[in-house]
Symmetry: C2
């Protein structure tokens, strides 16, 4: 099943409910979709790209328009709203922009709807195709018997299907290699425990859960052959990904373990450097509570950034749908991706 798809609205797996239950929700209005994005019912850069595009489709149909210019102006306003929902992931705006640009070419209300939906569906198909390619390229780095440590969820649930970092594992497994995964729980929202473990168990792939801070210890014990993570945004000097990725990259380097990033071309924002990227800060509640349970004094100060930046110096190679990119990145990224 796809993580996100269109059926009389945006249908998506509510990832906040996993692993307790597999629940689908249907968003009929942009505000519902944005709420789902904000509370991370749908997350992961590639999935957000499709979500952004579907957001424009929702904007087309959530109201009865009588005039084309009124409709187009609503789409443009919606685009700005979508982009501001989660500032760090560049893919959200890329998907929304593509659907918007397609829609704006329409001459009638029906044509605008058709063009927006057509583009969104194209993005969804492209995501699956490129993840398969990322998997094919990436599986070359994995040897039979390897153990891969991963962080957060860069799997099927972060994309439309197959996954990026976990797509590499899936491709290697489907080629007959025996691959084990060590999943870091990924605090504070536990995407590793909730999502990565869930989807790997669904597929019968061997997975072991550890706390984030156990990563260095398992590396020292010789239990990890490679690290593969996803990315929310890749700029000229750094990879932005879930908070903690930077820490994993440092301990991998300390133990001489290769550190790979698996991400599609759309994750690259090659005109920018890390200084220009805003890191989203999330609420204190994410650390103070776990469900109903109080984990810290209610009035404690909390610093809860959602992402960190890993210098490209710490990255062994980047696995994309156009091939594996090795350093020097300033030369090879533009060459391989043609950007």
């Amino acid at each position: 099943m796809r993580t996100i798809f269109w059926k009389d609205g945006v249908v998506l797996i509510d990832q906040t409910k996993l692993p307790e239950k597999l629940e689908l929700i249907t968003c009929k209005h942009v505000v519902e979709l944005l709420d789902a994005i904000k509370r991370l019912a749908v997350r992961g850069a590639p999935a957000l790209e499709v979500a952004g595009a579907y957001g424009i489709v929702l904007a087309c149909i959530e109201k009865e328009f009588t005039r084309v210019d009124e409709m187009k102006s609503h789409l443009i306003k919606t685009f700005d709203l979508i982009v501001s929902t989660r500032p760090t992931a560049v893919n959200l705006s890329i998907g929304a922009k593509r659907a918007l640009d397609a829609a704006l070419k329409g001459g009638s209300i029906d044509e605008i709807i058709r063009l927006a939906l057509q583009e969104a569906e194209k993005i969804a198909r492209e995501d699956i195709d490129r993840n398969r390619k990322i998997g094919e390229y990436g599986s070359k780095i994995l040897e039979d018997g390897d153990t891969v440590l991963t962080y957060c969820n860069a799997g099927r649930l972060a994309t439309v299907d197959w996954g990026t970092a976990l797509g590499v594992v899936r491709s290697a497994v489907s080629e007959g290699k025996k691959i084990r995964v060590i999943a870091c729980e990924t605090r504070p929202l536990n995407q590793g425990s909730r999502l990565t473990c869930w989807e790997l168990i669904q597929d019968g792939i061997d997975v072991t859960l550890i706390t984030d801070s156990t990563a260095a210890h398992v590396m020292k014990q010789g239990m990890v052959d490679k690290v593969i993570v996803g990315a929310d945004r890749i700029v000229r000097d750094s990879v932005f990904n879930k908070i903690g990725t930077y820490m994993i990259s440092i301990v991998a380097k300390e133990h001489g373990i290769p550190f790979y990033v698996a991400a599609p071309k759309t994750t690259f924002d090659w005109k920018k450097t890390s200084k220009e990227v805003i890191i989203e800060e999330r609420s204190a509640e994410e650390l103070v509570y776990c469900g109903e349970k109080l984990l810290a004094p209610k009035n404690v100060n909390v610093y809860n950034p959602a992402f960190d930046s890993t210098p490209l110096d710490n990255v062994t190679a980047i696995i994309t749908e156009h091939g594996i990119i090795e350093p020097p990145y300033d030369v090879n990224v533009p060459k391989v991706l043609r950007i």
Copy 2:
């Protein structure tokens, strides 16, 4: 208030209830105390030292003895039971051994009880005294305005009073220095969020909570001047402390931030090396559940070691009640501690 004290039994703060409520429990039988130790109602190497000693006192009074030899044989059996409760912390056995040795000198049932209790109370007083000394020595490394990152809880709640790593902070603050603390939540049992934040807020010390994996990020932002952690056991080549400490030591080194360990002499087990220390593995449930909330699929494999070992090469200095010990440790530890 002391974390643990004797009043018709062993009275202790049930740390599993913090920060929700401050609840005291009284153990009248050894089995109750060992249960409290196992479920971490009382934890922290120095507090366990006193707990071990009180355990021997409980063994003296939990039954009606008629013969001295029968009583002594019960104490010896209880000692073995206490020591096996948590294999990594050496202090538990040190405290129990001291109380046992004192008790075995008694010639009558009453004398045995008196000697055991006297020794246990002496250990408790000594702990407070040595923590004050660790604080006095340690505060010299802290400058006015410093921010200290700490991991787990090496505070008042890990000791009888004052604390080791947090004792250093308390001493510096009581000397009028302005010190800020960044506390890592310390998964999976959140001693950082639950205990460190709680006790620092109680004392009006500025504390900010982060996830464990945010440590590298705050260091890169220049938000951390020094790291101070406690220790469960220090051997010739390594410091054993809460899982994750090793990770913090690596990222501190990467950012050129001094990494200090604050611990009393009893934490040193200088005849051993890290290969001879058993690392306690705890249950999968600690990662799969958080209170009632399911965080991971119920059937997932979990690797949940309670401790890791940080090579002494990563340690800038060790703060003890006998002074600050700098490298080379093979020379200076025996010299300063006379072991």
